[in-house]
Symmetry: C2
DNA sequence: CGCCAACTTGATAACATTCAATGTAGGTGG
DNA sequence: CCACCTACATTGAATGTTATCAAGTTGGCG
């Protein structure tokens, strides 16, 4: 079975090529902001829209990296595996995030849908050609990679040096900050991933994640709400605990 | 006191602007390979050469990121700190490595010389202007950032999911692979950093690093040699242990 | 309503840390 | 040139945080 369904493919809508991009609500968040409004049609020409159900794979580590993706709705997790099955999630990608960057022509991680997901898919070779004509696009890609690098360094600090409680607090703060950066309310935060996913992201076990969340609940710092929402009662306290203060 | 000494500054050698770059032995390893031989003078015009003694700082986390650097000799460590002093080293940069990438105009980590070091220093605003004229340079920067991102993800897997022994083996293998990629012999590897640095890179304590190295020595996998050299007796066995096999 | 997966909670164990002491090497001054 | 001093590394014993193993509990979905 194919790893994804193509809901819409370029060429099916010749009457309005700029349509899918021109009307895109999340354009400002991602690489597409590098294109002038009247050049968006060039992106629209090469983009394909992809939908995935929760738990479907977008691509696997080691496969040829023929496509780059842009999340337009939902959450995707990226992870690497050790031969015995140990797993490290390197990131949760949400609306506006870019994924699929690679070096040696193969994906360095597996991408799997956490929730139902919609993405824009760009064939790599076509995007490459476009970046040659649009230095701004190339610069935008560079800026996004640099941003991810900074986030990766923060995550290394977390994984290498923080306690379980600090890790969970950091995670919650990150979710809140993401929401704030997107102009959304900071609480409650949307936490659609399983305890097991959180554990594999933070270098813990599901049991420890569960216990620590219970601790924070008991301390009155958070409250769990239905459908994966978490009320943060004292964001500044969480921020402090995240840094070990 | 200034954080570095300027051994040579552009303008002092007007007779041979291409000189410092044209003769550079490590040019092929880094961004400079994006420039044609006859355009190297443009890089030479904006580059400054910097020397640091071991333990000197190049820049601090949070400072304005006015410069980008390229290591031409020696080893530099990059690290982040928690308020209480816990430290995570995010990378050891060696000859050919590029550092100083940042997002929000400030450095996201501190850079300190592990050994005596020589670097090329590029004023950010001048390099930015050059990338506008040289898309190849911009692409090269992007490629280097992408490479670092892949390395960062590997390090997350290490920090989150590997045992102390697997971490040390991974570290040794990484050192060997770096040497191989530079056309050097894979053993003995050069390991100039202290046990404490290794610990802060791998998310361990100095004691655990020391004990684990002793284990590997006892198992006959490695031998310590003078001045920070380590003989790898069975690289493939180390590679296996690094992956938990 | 019942089932299954996900989550929570408990008891025990292990790996790495912490605290402490000893050993070693490189650099300085007598 | 050697002794000393300091920083770094190694080794040992005890502790602790988190993992592991094992039940229970909850909640979503057919």
């Amino acid at each position: 079975m194919p790893p994804f369904d193509m809901a819409r493919q370029n060429g099916e809508l010749p009457a309005n090529l700029a349509g899918p991009c021109g009307a895109c609500a999340v354009r400002g968040l991602t690489i597409c902001s590098a294109m002038d409004a009247d050049d968006l049609s060039l992106l629209a020409e090469i983009v394909q829209i992809v939908r995935l159900d929760a738990h479907e794979n977008l691509f696997h580590e080691g496969e040829p990296a023929d496509h780059l993706f842009n999340v337009t709705s939902g959450t995707v997790k990226l992870f690497k595996l050790l031969p015995d099955g140990r797993r490290q999630i390197t990131g949760f990608m949400i609306t506006g995030d870019f994924l699929g960057l690679s070096v040696n022509e193969t994906y360095s991680y597996t991408a799997e849908a956490v929730t139902d997901v919609t993405l824009c898919r760009f064939p790599r070779h076509k995007l490459d050609r476009l970046t040659e004509q649009y230095p701004r696009l190339q610069r935008r890609l560079f800026a996004m990679a640099s941003n991810e690098l900074v986030a990766a360094q923060d995550q290394m600090l977390l994984l290498g040096r923080k306690s379980a409680r600090e890790k969970i607090c950091s995670f919650l703060v990150t979710l809140a900050d993401r929401a704030i950066r997107r102009g959304q309310i900071e609480s409650p935060v949307h936490m659609p991933m399983s305890r097991s996913d959180i554990a594999d992201y933070l270098g813990l076990t599901t049991e420890t994640v569960s216990r620590t969340i219970t601790q924070l609940k008991t301390a009155g710092l958070i409250q769990l709400q239905p459908s994966g929402r978490v009320q943060l009662n004292d964001l500044e306290a969480l921020r402090g605990e995240a840094e070990g203060i």
